[in-house]
């Protein structure tokens, strides 16, 4: 059987997932708070957040291993909240892979088909097709313990895909692989998902994984969805301080809004003063947020312009990163990280010297918690 026919054999019409007002508590611990989500058919979607944010709990809830106190989960417009896990038709790849050590690779992959009472004659070819899809042809008589971590992960994937689930759930599938393999496997995962067109939810705490693999991401913290969007949206337009800080590095500077009735500005004590556009709302207590690459160290005596703000400060640390140099600059009460591109022959600023920092005004956002 060729890869093309294997794909067709495993293809399933894509379905969407809707999560409505889901709440879940363990005693006093409110793990999921009013979760609303809409995942489109065929989408590669990520739940991203620090450990303990509720992302795995939400994933397990979709699979049926946790039960919501209120709210419901719809897969392809069908409410599955009351179904037990074995009737949901949702495939899940476990973080530990959960391969059964007493069965061979082939038996592991065949298990789901047998449980679904697939005719015996069909099981063999479908197991072979699933193993071919993940590139494990020929290893079907091995035991899980005889496989490498990467191979085990593929078996877990093949086992799940073989039953042609409506929805694929991946619980931190890359966390048990070493760094180099991780990059390779995440590309393969993306490619496979694209070929199968299978709606997929991916749980991770690693923003790079989520950014590189997924179409859209739901950033979660403390049981609440902070923001949903494409990787670019989340990075460029974070909705709050948590998202800004969790995705990439951000300068987060405290200050206060001053205004003379005509124009407003965000003033950092002893440091820069950023003009605020008239149409922009700034919540009380909001902080100024911008990325290290959206500011630069400029020559002394440069003046502020309409699109940039100038601040004088002192270099507090220097980190040479190869392609760029990151400087810490203390400007008044603000500690600012500045990324300067590095080209061969460039001179570096020494710690303790006075420098001038220019901040691209347009990139600055005012966010609160």
């Amino acid at each position: 059987m060729t890869a093309a026919t294997a794909n067709r054999a495993l293809a399933v019409p894509a379905v969407g997932v809707r999560i409505e007002q889901v709440n879940l508590s363990y005693g006093d611990n409110h793990v999921l708070k009013s979760i609303d989500l809409d995942i489109r058919p065929g989408e590669f979607f990520a739940f991203l957040g620090p450990s303990g944010c509720g992302k795995t709990t939400l994933l397990r809830l979709i699979a049926g291993f946790n039960h919501a106190d209120s709210g419901r989960v719809l897969v392809g417009e069908k409410d599955i909240s009351a179904l037990p896990p074995w009737k949901r038709d949702i495939g899940m790849v476990f973080q530990s892979y959960a391969l059964w050590p007493h069965m061979t690779v082939a038996r592991n992959v065949a298990f789901g088909l047998e449980e679904k009472r697939v005719p015996r004659a069909e099981i063999g070819p479908r197991v072979a097709a699933a193993l071919e899809l993940v590139g494990l042809t020929g290893l079907d008589q091995r035991r899980p313990a005889q496989l490498s971590g990467g191979q085990q992960q593929r078996v877990a994937l093949a086992r799940t895909i073989a039953v042609e689930p409506k929805l694929l759930l991946l619980d931190e599938p890359l966390s048990n692989l070493d760094a180099k393999l991780r990059v390779q496997v995440r590309r393969e995962l993306r490619e496979l998902q694209q070929r199968l067109g299978l709606t997929t939810i991916f749980v991770t705490h690693d923003q790079e994984e989520a950014n590189t693999v997924c179409d859209r991401i739901a950033v979660m913290n403390q049981g609440v969805i902070q923001q949903v969007g494409t990787p670019k949206d989340l990075y460029e337009q974070p909705a709050n301080l948590f998202v800004a800080n969790f995705l990439g590095t951000a300068n987060i500077v405290e200050g206060r809004v001053i205004g003379d009735g005509v124009s407003r500005a965000f003033e950092v004590a002893g440091g820069p003063k950023i003009p605020i556009a008239a149409d922009r709302k700034v919540a009380p207590g909001a902080r100024m947020v911008f990325r290290p690459q959206d500011c630069a160290i400029v020559g002394a005596g440069q003046s502020a312009g309409p699109d940039r703000t100038i601040a004088d400060g002192t270099v507090t640390y220097r980190e040479f990163l190869g392609a760029s140099v990151r400087y810490g600059v203390r400007a008044g009460s603000a500690d600012i990280a500045v990324d300067c591109p590095f080209h061969a022959g460039d001179a570096l600023h020494e710690v303790g010297t006075a420098v001038t920092v220019a901040i691209a005004t347009r990139s600055v956002r005012f966010l609160s918690d």
């Binding site: 896990p85 476990f94 973080q95 530990s96 959960a98 059964w100 050590p101 007493h102 086992r159 039953v163």
Partner: protein, 571 residues
């Protein structure tokens, strides 16, 4: 819990010093003298002509030609197999209930798990006869109410019944551990792929728990096969261990048949253990992930809850029957042909604390000495195996553990034969000294103490010792100031286990006790229990034995728990 031991570096650092070599040689000599030589003597005698020294198989041919021995062999096999079945019937529901459900009686079941073990099975046998015998409480009541009796205790049934109740904890403990070691994701993955209910249990949970069950079952089989005192007290003589004992004690230590039976016992023990090792070879099914807590437990539905409690209560009643019977008997004036004793008295205790307090004193001395020897040897062997690259260190470990395969009665016969020829300066044979009993007990319990010490040392990171040596401490001082204090918990646990089990051990001592003044408690119990008049005082002595072991068990639990609460060294 990783023992991050960079082997390359460790290899360079850990070479043997003269002191370590001397230590290893000392242990080797001890094991050779008190384990290998007596066992080898038994085997040698079985294969040589009586009176002569020529190799022969005649003794074995005699064995297989004698109906009594063949029947005994078959009976031993049958009783052991049925005891495994009986123990499984008791253990399976308990293991299932505790591992699958959020059951409030879990603590109760854990208590159940060690209650039988704190009483020697032969002590329980007498009490069980009173409750379940032909004219015991249960059958008297059954006869009164329904007009029939159940032959619980008739012949081999009695041995099977008593041994099942006594040894089921071995299966319970092993099976529960195996079930606890199954990660919840194993089951969830199956559910996710459409499996549920009994099919899921049959295809995933049961196969994964199988190695644990086999380990427990083979242990029960071997223990029952080797047990001497229970069948003797129940007056069942046509089993192998009693036959060996009777041959040696009635015909004499020159008769080869006792030795032949002993060899058969060894072969059966080793075969059972080898079979179970073979059946579970290469399958380490421990799948628990970091901090995982085994299978998910679900709440019991009301009717399930009632069912669960009924099951547990029934088993609890059975398990407590020997204890209750013993306690009643120790206070009763006369108890026969009635469901309960006719009257109550304190006289038995008075008698025990008077004339029989010697038994208690002897037991305390013997068991403490045996425990001490075990801990010293166990620590030394563990140290040599884990911390040196001495050639043959694994052989020491292996030899010490091999004591598991030598049934108590075999060791006893071996000691008699091997040490009877060794005369002291005044002409008394070495085998008649009480210290030989201590040595036999120490050898019998060494494997268990060794495991405890081994585990304790394994948890101490080598870097803690390296740090001490780096700061100028010699190897000996490092052991004294760093290793020993950190191992203390494990060593104490090893001592208590050895002490408690040695205190009620009978099969080896039954052969070795030469005079009543040297007899330990278990021997006294056995002697008392054989006559109707001695049963009252015997029961009182039994109660004291049970209390002694119970206190030790609680103590060792306490020590182990405290050790766990302490931040683990080197992690």
């Amino acid at each position: 819990m990783s023992l991050a031991l960079p082997t390359g570096r460790a290899r360079a650092r850990l070479s043997a010093t003269p002191g370590q070599i001397a230590l290893a040689l000392g242990i080797a000599v001890f094991l050779a003298l008190f384990l290998v030589w007596p066992s080898a003597t038994v085997i040698y005698v079985a294969f040589t002509e009586k009176g002569g020294g020529a190799f022969t198989l005649v003794n074995f041919a005699d064995f297989f030609r004698t109906d009594l021995f063949l029947r005994s062999f078959w009976n031993s096999f049958y009783v052991s197999a049925m005891a495994v079945v009986g123990a499984s019937i008791l253990a399976l529901p308990l293991a299932y209930i505790t591992s699958r459900f959020a059951f409030r009686g879990t603590a109760l079941i854990q208590t159940l798990g060690f209650l039988p073990l704190i009483m020697p099975p032969f002590v329980g046998a007498v009490a069980m006869q009173l409750f379940f015998g032909r004219n015991g409480s249960v059958n008297l009541l059954l006869d009164d109410w329904f007009g029939f009796k159940i032959p619980f205790m008739e012949g081999l049934n009695g041995v099977i019944f008593v041994q099942s109740i006594h040894y089921f904890p071995f299966i319970l403990i092993n099976l529960s551990a195996a079930l606890r070691n199954i990660d919840a994701s194993m089951e969830e993955a199956a559910q996710n792929l459409g499996s549920s209910g009994f099919r899921l249990f049959r295809r995933i949970v049961f196969p994964l728990a199988m190695p644990g069950y086999i380990a427990g079952a083979s242990l029960v089989f071997v223990k029952v096969f080797d047990d001497l005192a229970t069948p003797l007290l129940l007056n069942v003589k046509d089993m192998l261990a009693p036959q060996a004992y009777l041959r040696v004690t009635s015909i004499g230590i020159a008769d080869p048949m006792g030795y032949v039976i002993a060899v058969v016992l060894i072969v059966a023990s080793v075969a059972a253990m080898a079979l179970s090792a073979l059946a579970t070879r290469g399958i380490d099914y421990s799948t628990v992930q970091r901090g995982g807590g085994g299978l998910a437990r679900r709440k019991l539905r009301p009717y399930e809850s009632v069912l669960a409690y009924l099951t547990v209560m029934l088993i609890l009643l059975l398990v407590l029957a020997p204890h209750a019977g013993l306690l009643l008997l120790s206070f009763s004036t006369v108890w026969s042909f009635s469901p309960l004793p006719d009257g109550y008295t304190m006289a038995h205790y008075a008698r025990i604390f008077g004339e029989s307090s010697l038994y208690i004193k002897n037991t305390l001395i013997y068991a403490s000495l045996a425990g001490l020897i075990d801990v010293v040897l166990g620590t030394a062997i563990a140290y040599l195996v884990l911390r040196t690259r001495l050639i043959g260190r694994d052989a020491l470990d292996w030899a010490a553990s091999a004591a598991l395969a030598v049934p108590g009665i075999v060791l006893g016969i071996g000691y008699l034969r091997a040490f009877y020829g060794v005369k002291l300066w005044d002409g008394t044979p070495l085998a008649s000294l009480w210290i030989v009993i201590v040595l036999a007990l120490a050898i019998r319990r060494l494997p268990y103490a060794l495991r405890a010490c081994y585990a304790a040392l394994q948890q101490i990171s080598v870097s803690l010792e390296e740090a001490a040596e780096n700061l100028g401490a010699t190897k000996l001082r490092t052991v004294r100031r760093i290793v020993t204090p950190l191992m203390m918990g494990g060593m104490l646990a090893g001592f208590v286990t050895s002490f408690a089990t040695a205190a009620v051990e009978l099969s080896a001592t039954l052969m070795l006790v030469q005079s009543n003044s040297d007899a330990p408690l278990a021997y006294g119990l056995y002697v008392l229990m054989q006559s109707a008049a001695g049963r009252g005082p015997g029961a009182a002595l039994g109660v004291i034995a049970v209390l002694l072991v119970a206190v030790c068990t609680v103590l060792s639990h306490f020590v182990i728990e405290r050790g766990r609460a302490m931040p683990q060294a080197g992690h």
